[in-house]
């Protein structure tokens, strides 16, 4: 800040350039001060912004753990040699990496260091009176002059400035009279909201950063797969997975229970555009609060369900065939509706059954489920449609050690076959078991039977309800989100003020002469102001009309307004002084 507030040619509330940064005096304090000035200079802010933009890009090129953990695993498998190097560089966690954090923290430090002095300066400017009228208004770029005839020129000059003062006030200017001798003038300034908006914008950005940072500590997100008919209790143990912020205590969850009553989905019929496309998903639930009162609700895409400050989202869905396994004695050793993970758009789904007890050896089944089975080329089965028209379940059978007793947690969707022998399915002599709803098949080696239960209600005429569906739900709690939004909107509002409110000074000066009043008008932009010239023109015209109405002087018809670009002018044009805006 090296400009002088009283110099009208140099807008002063504008932090600009780094010319003032000079070599420091020796000594630690000097160096620190120099470093701080460097950091909070506009050029540094600019460079940091550009560096931030570049630093954000790798995160869109490499899969990120926070957004796409499977993508990272896949990448590692494809590039085993390169992976450790890039991982050490945090290219799979760009937005949490030390180097990315360093950039935005420096940027925000710079921002705060930049904004604080500007707040002080602006607070002063808000209280200050418009500055003294410059002696030579014609030096300014937007300059007009008008002559008017008046019998009593001095009185008319003074009166004309009274009129201009009122006029400017009505236009929202802050005004100050500066009279002296036979010359009268009013100095006016407007557009303080511009700088206020700018400061608001920058501060609101800090607000966004802080609320995001602090809010994350109090947020939690859990996932839970629910099969139709199942109930889930909102406690930590009942989640399939849970991520919680550092400040979320074990008992932070509001107790409630939620049952998935049914899951709706519609499919585009055959023969229509987008045939087979699924949509209008709706997980219909009943929520029971701690007091026992029940409410119905639906979780749909774009329409999360709010329960006790949590937001419940629909992440995914699929089929959960109900499978019963009996041993050679006919005793039920397994019965469950098993969520099968969809593998394609037609809901070909993959699932796993693990029978831990009741058999001579542990038993594992890997199943494919096809809601509308059709044989493709070479006799391979595929699903041709997402809805339940011709449901079919195929099962490969493994026996041996499921590997779940050695304490390493295993996904319920994956069967580790290393300790197992394949008894049925491809590469064995026994074909895979193929079942339609309601059918029972024999397990190989006389181990027993497996049944694909038909879940259709009494009297059903088709297969459309023969298999249960599941919904994958996400329960999310983040009370800070609304504050992030508030700050973001404040930033937007501040930005609009900062960019669209014109900040300008104008002066009207009148001096009496021999039966003539000479009026001078000038405007000075403080910041980007494309409409300044038009505003000065309007001021001149409006002032003329008001004076005509008031009487005391009359306009001189023939005299054209003298423009700033008048070629006869001898003085150098104001534009030669570098205009900073």
């Amino acid at each position: 800040m090296n400009s002088d507030a009283s110099d009208p040619l140099r807008p002063s509330d504008h932090v600009d350039g780094d010319d003032s940064i000079t070599q420091p005096r020796l000594g630690l304090v000097g160096w620190l001060r120099w470093g701080w000035r460097q950091l909070t200079s506009m050029r540094t802010a600019l460079v940091l912004l550009l560096v931030l933009a570049i630093a954000a890009i790798p995160g869109s090129i490499f899969p990120q753990r926070m957004a796409d953990p499977n993508g990272v695993t896949q990448w590692e498998r494809n590039n085993p040699d390169l992976f450790p190097v890039l991982d050490a560089l945090k290219l799979f966690d760009v937005y949490l990496s030390p180097w990315f954090s360093a950039i935005y923290l420096l940027l925000f430090t710079s921002l705060v260091g930049c904004v604080i002095p500007r707040i002080k300066h602006h607070a002063k400017a808000l209280r200050a009176r418009p500055p003294r009228t410059p002696a030579r208004l014609q030096r300014l770029e937007d300059f007009r002059s008008v002559q008017r005839d008046a019998p009593d020129a001095d009185a008319a000059a003074s009166a004309s400035i009274d009129i201009a003062t009122k006029q400017l006030k009505a236009l929202g200017y802050r005004v100050e009279r500066y009279d002296g001798g036979r010359s009268f003038s009013v100095s006016a300034e407007r557009g303080y909201w511009r700088e206020t908006g700018n400061l608001l914008f920058h501060l609101a950005l800090v607000g966004v950063l802080i609320t995001v940072g602090i809010g994350g500590g109090f947020a939690y997100t859990g996932q839970r797969v629910l099969v139709e008919g199942e109930t889930f209790a909102n406690t930590l143990v009942d989640y399939d997975s849970m991520n919680r912020g550092r400040f979320v205590s074990d008992d932070a969850l509001t107790p409630y229970a939620m049952q998935l009553d049914s899951f709706d989905v519609t499919y585009q019929p055959f023969g229509e555009p987008g045939s087979g496309q699924a949509g209008d998903f709706s997980a219909n639930v009943t929520v029971q609060d701690a007091a026992g009162s029940k409410t119905d609700g639906a979780v749909r895409v774009n329409h999360p369900l709010g329960v006790a400050g949590d937001q419940i989202y629909l992440l995914g869905n699929g089929y959960a065939p109900t499978i019963t396994v009996r041993n050679a004695d006919g005793d039920i050793v397994y019965r469950n509706s098993v969520p099968f993970l969809p593998q394609d758009n037609n809901m070909t789904s993959l699932g796993v059954v693990k029978v831990t007890d009741g058999m001579p050896e542990q038993l594992g089944l890997i199943g494919f489920f096809y809601p509308t089975a059709a044989s493709g080329q070479k006799g391979a089965i595929a699903s041709g449609y997402g809805d339940l028209i011709n449901p079919l379940l195929t099962l490969d059978v493994y026996s041996g050690d499921l590997g779940i007793n050695d304490g390493i947690p295993k996904s319920v969707y994956v069967l580790d076959t290393t300790g197992m022998t394949k008894l049925a399915g491809r590469t064995t002599d026994v074909e895979s078991i193929e079942l339609s709803p309601g059918e029972t098949g024999d397990l190989p080696n006389g181990l027993g039977t497996v049944t694909f239960e038909d879940e259709s209600p009494e009297g059903a005429t088709d297969a459309s309800q023969s298999v249960k569906r599941f919904a994958s739900l996400q329960i999310h709690h983040d009370a800070s989100a609304v504050w992030v939004l508030v700050f973001a909107l404040l930033a937007l509002g501040g930005l609009m003020l900062a960019l669209f409110v014109p900040r300008r000074r104008v002066w009207v000066k009148a001096s009496g002469g021999d039966g003539v009043v000479s009026l001078e008008y000038a405007g000075l932009a403080r910041g980007e102001d494309p409409t300044l010239a038009a505003a000065v023109d309007d001021l001149v015209a409006g002032h003329g009309r008001l004076m005509d109405a008031a009487g005391g002087s009359t306009s001189v018809a023939a005299e054209p307004a003298v423009e700033a670009t008048d070629p006869d002018r001898t003085e150098p044009p104001a534009t030669e002084t570098p205009k900073v805006d």
């Binding site: 600009d16 506009m42 954000a56 496309q277």
Partner: protein, 321 residues
């Protein structure tokens, strides 16, 4: 009667053909401007007046005989006609689909370029920017032609995540912001050419680049125009960013997750914030900030094409498979 979803592409290709004619007319206009200024220059030299010193850097274009703008006028008329067909193509597409016509890449291109032309025509009623016609219509031709040939998809029902009021707001505002950035981009390109010319003229170089520049505003004026369009675009973009976050909160359960599309929207926002800062930083005004505007718009186009088509993320709404 023709089915609307058949009619729409026909209207669109008609619009493309008319835009192509408008492009040619605007190009002739620029060529004509070069010719006129060459004539004016040799005349001026004949009478011994240094035309050079004055003709550049003036805020007003050098006086050029009115009849020489004939081609520009034809270009604008054709642009208006093309715009009407383009609008009709977009509206019929929307009616055929029974929803707003901006839900896949083909439609994004259609509405985005429609808004570029709309903003361009709207601005023409207040500021004479016809010299931008070749650039703007050229850009529209490339984007629209490319989209109509490579991105075309038949009307299909919306995917669930797109069934939201935010589809209407967020995507429309993003497209409108892009339109303003496109205008600013063209102005910045010409600004750089003009700045180069001004430098060469100041050095009294023999060759000063394309002659039509002589009839165009000076680089300062071009820069301030570019800036005005950019700040409007920037505010729309800021809104897009916020609206997108609100939508993401509804659809995906988090307002920000650095999905590829989110990342690029953020990168673009930061680049333009850099541009605005550059304009207020000594040493960065002028050509350097113009380069930032060009980089910013390149990122917009990259985000729109490459990221949509080739990057994998949650925003898989190109409709292409």
């Amino acid at each position: 009667m023709l089915e609307l979803n058949v009619l729409s592409p026909i209207l669109l290709w008609t619009a493309i053909a008319i835009y192509a004619a408008a492009f040619v007319a605007y190009a002739f206009d620029l060529a004509r401007r070069s010719q006129v200024t060459a004539d004016a220059k040799s005349e001026a030299e004949l009478v011994g007046v240094g035309a050079r010193g004055n003709a550049y850097a003036a805020d007003v274009p050098a006086p050029v005989p009115a009849q020489s703008f004939m081609m520009a006028r034809i270009g604008t008329s054709l642009t208006v006609l093309g715009f009407l067909f383009h609008l009709a193509a977009t509206v019929t597409r929307g009616i055929a689909a029974g929803r707003v016509p901006w839900a896949n890449l083909y439609e994004f291109a259609m509405i985005g370029t429609l808004l570029v032309v709309a903003v361009f025509l709207a601005v023409l009623t207040r500021i004479d920017l016809r010299f931008l016609g070749t650039f703007i219509i050229g850009l529209v031709l490339v984007l629209l032609g490319g989209a109509a040939t490579s991105f075309y998809v038949a009307v299909v029902p919306l995917m669930d995540p797109l069934k939201s009021i935010w589809l209407i707001i967020h995507v429309f505002v993003a497209s409108l912001g892009t339109a303003f950035f496109a205008l600013a981009f063209s102005l910045s390109v010409i600004q750089l050419m003009q700045a180069r010319r001004e430098r060469l003229v100041a050095e009294n170089a023999a060759k000063t680049g394309p002659g039509f520049l002589r009839t165009l505003p000076g680089s300062d004026r071009l820069e301030s125009l570019a800036y005005r369009f950019t700040i409007v675009g920037f505010i729309l973009w800021t809104f897009t960013l916020i609206a997108g976050a609100i939508w993401a909160q509804d659809a995906w359960g988090r307002y920000w997750g650095f999905d590829v599309k989110e990342t690029w929207t953020f990168v673009i926002w930061v680049i333009y914030a850099g541009y605005i800062h550059a304009r207020a930083t000594r040493g960065w005004r002028g050509s350097r900030s113009a380069w930032l505007a060009i980089v910013g718009f390149s990122a917009v186009i990259f985000n729109f094409t490459i990221v949509n088509v080739f990057f994998k993320g949650l925003h898989a709404y190109s409709g292409l498979s």
